[in-house]
């Protein structure tokens, strides 16, 4: 293990050109970027030492991002402009460094400090007025039982406490594909719990719950076609026959929030 002399927190965005990297692909891509930029990254211990780069939260394949967090540990000190310059040399198209700041080397690890994540997306094949209704009903519910598959097991959990805020709104005009009926496109914004100890909400699960409320199916997976089977409603469907599934486009993680940034206002927050 090389000695750690400095720890930088990177705030970065991910655009269209880097959108379809899986988390593992992204890790490899950043490691190559550090080598190209000749950034003196400290390495981990072990038989196969890896550069010490810690992403706060893996970003799903297909999801755009505007305010992601990662800590990188250096074996030699660099100034902020120097590090920024070297990152610009090496980072692949699609990634931009929004901000970077020096963190005390022994400060707590980044991932356990996460509290929430904001998402926005455009939904096709659903009118905003109907989505408004579904959002109101979802927020009014005390409990929202969902099932999540983990390997062979199915885990039941309550999605409701993982949703801090949820709003339907007008669609982003750029995300509307040519030929789509403008009336059947809506925007959605949400703030979900993202916590190692308290659980994390998944944006596509929220969309699936909304679709279920409306008696529709949804192509729930974001980007990653591996599990992009349409899930039909689990409750008796009355309306879904003949209606195309809700489709998610331009899913964007707007921001990751650390607990200290959000304060305590989250605990019972219910935006209306």
């Amino acid at each position: 293990m090389s000695e750690i002399r400095q720890r930088w927190r990177l705030v970065f965005a991910r655009g269209e050109d880097a959108r379809y990297l899986s988390h593992l692909d992204a890790v490899h891509s950043w490691e190559r970027a550090f080598r190209r930029g000749e950034i003196p990254v400290a390495t981990s211990e072990g038989f196969n030492p890896r550069p010490k780069l810690v992403f706060a939260a893996p970003l799903q394949l297909g999801v755009l991002a505007e305010h992601e967090l990662a800590d990188v540990y250096l074996s030699e000190k660099l100034t902020a402009p120097d590090l920024r310059e070297r990152l610009m040399v090496g980072l692949p198209r699609g990634y931009t460094v929004v901000d970077l700041y020096d963190v005390w080397v022994n400060a707590p690890a980044i991932a356990p400090q996460l509290a929430a994540a904001d998402y926005r997306m455009t939904l096709l094949n659903v009118e905003q007025s109907r989505l408004d209704g579904a959002v109101a009903r979802l927020l009014a519910a005390d409990e929202l039982t969902r099932e999540r598959r983990k390997e062979a097991k199915t885990i039941r959990y309550d999605l409701r406490p993982l949703i801090f805020e949820l709003r339907a709104r007008a669609a982003d005009p750029d995300a509307v594909p040519p030929g789509a009926v403008p009336a059947e496109v809506a925007g959605l914004w949400m703030r979900l719990r993202h916590s190692q100890s308290g659980g994390s909400g998944r944006a596509e699960e929220v969309v699936a719950a909304l679709a279920e409320d409306l008696g529709l199916s949804a192509t729930i997976s974001i980007g990653d076609g591996e599990d992009s089977e349409s899930t039909g409603p689990t409750s008796p469907a009355t309306e879904s026959a003949g209606r195309p599934p809700i489709e998610i486009v331009r899913p964007t993680r707007e921001r990751l929030w650390l607990a200290e940034e959000l304060g305590t206002s989250l605990s019972g927050g219910r935006a209306g």
Binding site: Y20, P92, L124, D174, T219, G223, G225, E226, V249
Partner: protein, 727 residues
């Protein structure tokens, strides 16, 4: 001179909007294959660039992006201000169906334009079974499938790659074929096409006869093809028409155009030894098959294995000087960010400077992982791999005896003895490998059941050696494939075994291989039959390929997609049989459908070498032994250096410790083993007086013809250092 600023163009297609693209990518596995944005990919201003190429690689992204040729030609073209090259790979089945259901054309990765919008489509054909993918790509890209169907506005479809040594089965689909190496000829083709106005896009004149669509080019397809046919190494299939005899045999080709040459010889890059193209190599966004940088250290091969098309057809042998290879490798690592680089060639252990390049790269960039294709059977290779990855993983050590018996190895000119196989395996086990993987072929010309069973015998012998060293951990994995006769090799006339014969051999071998620690993997032979049929095929196979594709043939190189029955039906509907093409012994007096094409090695040499094969006589590796008169210098104008004066030694610097003599004589020469090499690695041997020239590079090349005196000198030097002279 044409003014800068690209093409005056009537037709400037737009990129597909992201909003359309993302809905398709959301539905498919591994969307990163089609999304672009890779490091070192180049997005040029479409309307400001004169001539636009699309490299269409007809296999999945993971295979295509691993291809060094693509990385090279992509850079060669994009380095020119007025040329543009984009990429496209074969769509997986889910992507194809998503495109079809959305009615969206297959797009180029860089700027998301449909394939039909380019001036030239460059197809890389490296394997017979990718031919159905070519049709998928052309069809989805909006390009006419056959040359006869193409519109005047369609791109020219030009193929290169190893299987176009016999392009006849694919002739219906190819406007032109480039034989040999592509570095120079892609630029010549580009200049020719621009000079005649192929890239000009003009509005169709109202009422013009035959003008399909809203625009046409500055020159007709027919005129463009005539211009291409004048470029050395370029073959235009539609300028020739085959004749067949009543019995079905091919009888020769008629030339239909004065512009069509009688024979066409493959191109050889003019500057391989001195210039390295492909420095800013594409770095994928998802894991691919060869996910590493690559530096090609040598091109060509003089070993002369008689089954090997690449080895026979890539001569002359050219080696990159160590300073060229090292500087390029460093530049490539820096430009890509990879930590692993492959030293590639057909047989890297034969590269004269392999050890100094590896040592020096490790010295300059500690932590760099080097890899090399290691299939040669000799102790030098084990020693080299061991030295290249000191303390590295000891997974499996792979080498390829190819045949089980000495007699059959002599027949195929794989000059390696049972003893060498044993010594090599022993050394691998001694150096820490507990698992050895052996590659063999069955169905080789002249093979008997005895030869087949010899595969089991040698595998068991190797296993026993491993068990003595590593006990129950020792493993031998024998990988068995079916021999496929390749055109332009001494075995091009020899038929493949029938399915029954192969099955009997595999069954017998499987029974004989039954032992703990010994596993045998075997690949189904039906795809090998198709590979052989297409490989030795003629133009009557064009309609067969089209039919098979229409019946759903997709990604045939992948077991999960390959369905032989589709192909059998397609052959039958054309009144043909794959067995006739694959399994027939072709009489040597019969005309061959590919005999107007060549890569340098003369048909006379192939016939001579075939006779030697039948007598189980070896042909020497001309890098070390005498010239075999293969005909390459006469056909290509490239001289080659043979080792007629006998084995050579090199004076070289090993590590930082000093100088050592390193023997680089022919593989299999015992002087290359153990003592000498060990001494060279470990010993601090002073160069003799008068030889101490400056490091780094003038020394590396200071080659001495080691006549007897030289070798004696070597021996005494090694003795002085406390080494042993022979194993």
């Amino acid at each position: 001179m044409r003014p800068a600023g690209g093409t005056p163009s009537f037709h400037n297609p737009e990129s597909l909007p992201i909003a359309v693209v993302e809905r398709i990518l959301n539905r498919v596995r591994k969307p990163g294959r089609y999304a672009g944005g890779e490091w070192n990919s180049v997005q040029k201003d479409w309307s400001a660039t004169a001539l636009k190429w699309l490299f269409a690689y007809p296999d999945l992204y993971e295979i295509g992006m691993s291809n060094l040729g693509l990385r090279i030609l992509y850079e060669v073209l994009n380095d020119r201000r007025d040329r543009l090259a984009e990429r496209c790979f074969a769509p997986d089945v889910d992507f194809e169906s998503a495109l079809r259901s959305a009615g969206v054309p297959l797009w180029s990765i860089e700027t998301r334009r449909p394939l039909r919008e380019f001036d030239v489509i460059g197809l890389s054909l490296g394997f017979e079974l990718v031919c159905s993918n070519v049709l998928t790509m052309l069809d989805l890209g909006g390009v006419g499938l056959t040359t006869a169907e193409r519109l005047e506005s369609d791109p020219l479809v030009i193929a290169g790659g190893s299987i176009v040594l016999n392009p006849e089965p694919y002739a219906d689909f190819l406007d032109a074929v480039v034989l040999g190496e592509g570095e120079d000829v892609v630029l010549e083709i580009s200049d020719t096409l621009e000079s005649i106005g192929w890239n000009l896009r003009l509005p169709a004149e109202a009422g013009a006869a035959g003008a399909a669509g809203e625009w046409h080019r500055g020159v007709t397809r027919a005129a463009a093809l005539r211009a291409l046919a004048a470029i050395p190494g370029v073959y235009v299939p539609s300028f020739y028409r085959p004749r067949y005899l009543a019995g079905g045999r091919f009888d020769g080709l008629d030339r239909l155009e004065d512009a069509a040459p009688e024979t066409i010889t493959g191109r050889i890059a003019s500057d391989f030894e001195t210039t390295v193209h492909g420095i800013r190599q594409l770095v994928p966004n998802l894991a691919i098959v060869f996910d590493r940088a690559q530096i090609e250290v040598m091109r060509g091969c003089t070993r002369g294995c008689r089954f090997c098309q690449a080895g026979m057809q890539s001569r002359p042998l050219r080696e990159r000087a160590p300073d060229v290879a090292i500087a390029a490798a460093e530049a490539i690592l820096k430009a890509t960010g990879y930590e692993e680089i492959g030293l590639t060639s057909l047989s890297t252990a034969d590269y004269t400077y392999v050890r100094e390049v590896a040592t020096e790269l490790h010295r300059r960039r500690p932590g760099t992982v080097l890899s090399l294709p290691s299939t040669r059977v000799d102790a030098f290779t084990v020693d080299l791999v061991d030295a290249i990855a000191p303390g590295g993983k000891r997974g499996g050590f792979t080498f390829a005896p190819e045949a089980g018996s000495q007699r059959l190895r002599d027949t195929i000119n794989k000059g390696v003895s049972d003893e060498e196989i044993a010594t090599t395996a022993q050394l691998a086990f001694d150096r820490g490998w507990s698992s050895v993987k052996l590659y063999f072929m069955i169905g080789l010309p002249g093979e008997t059941m005895e030869d087949v069973l010899a595969i089991a015998a040698i595998s068991r012998r190797v296993l026993a050696m491993g068990q003595r060293r590593h006990g129950g951990r020792a493993q031998v994995k024998a990988n068995i494939s079916t021999f496929v006769p390749k055109v332009m090799t001494p075995f091009q006339w020899d038929g493949q075994d029938t399915t029954l014969e192969i099955d009997a051999k595999v069954t017998a071998l499987r029974n004989a291989m039954h032992a703990k620690g010994l596993t045998m993997s075997w690949h189904d032979a039906t795809s090998s039959i198709l590979e052989a049929a297409l490989g030795r095929g003629d133009r009557r196979l064009g309609p067969v390929i089209l039919r098979a594709w229409q019946k759903g043939a997709r990604l045939d190189a992948w077991d999960e997609h390959f369905d032989y029955s589709r192909w059998l039906v397609a052959f039958a509907e054309e009144g043909l049989e794959p067995a006739w093409y694959a399994q027939r012994d072709i009489p040597i007096e019969e005309p061959l459908p590919w005999s107007h094409l060549g890569a340098g090695v003369s048909p006379a040499f192939l016939l001579r070498d075939r006779k030697r094969a039948q007598a189980a006589m070896a042909t020497a590796d001309c890098h070390w032994g005498p010239c075999g008169n293969c005909g390459v210098p006469a056909a290509t104008g490239f001289a080659c250096e043979t080792g007629e004066q006998g084995p050579r030694i090199l004076l070289t610097k090993i590590g930082d410790d000093g100088l050592g003599w390193q023997y680089v004589g022919p593989p299999g020469d015992p002087r290359r083993l153990g003592g000498v090499v060990t001494a060279a690695v470990g010993a601090n041997v002073k160069a003799p007086a008068g030889e101490s020239r400056g490091w780094p590079y003038d020394l590396l090349g200071s080659e001495m013809q080691a006549k007897d005196a030289g070798l004696k000198g070597l021996a005494s030097l090694v003795d002085a250092a406390g080494g042993e002279t022979t194993a």
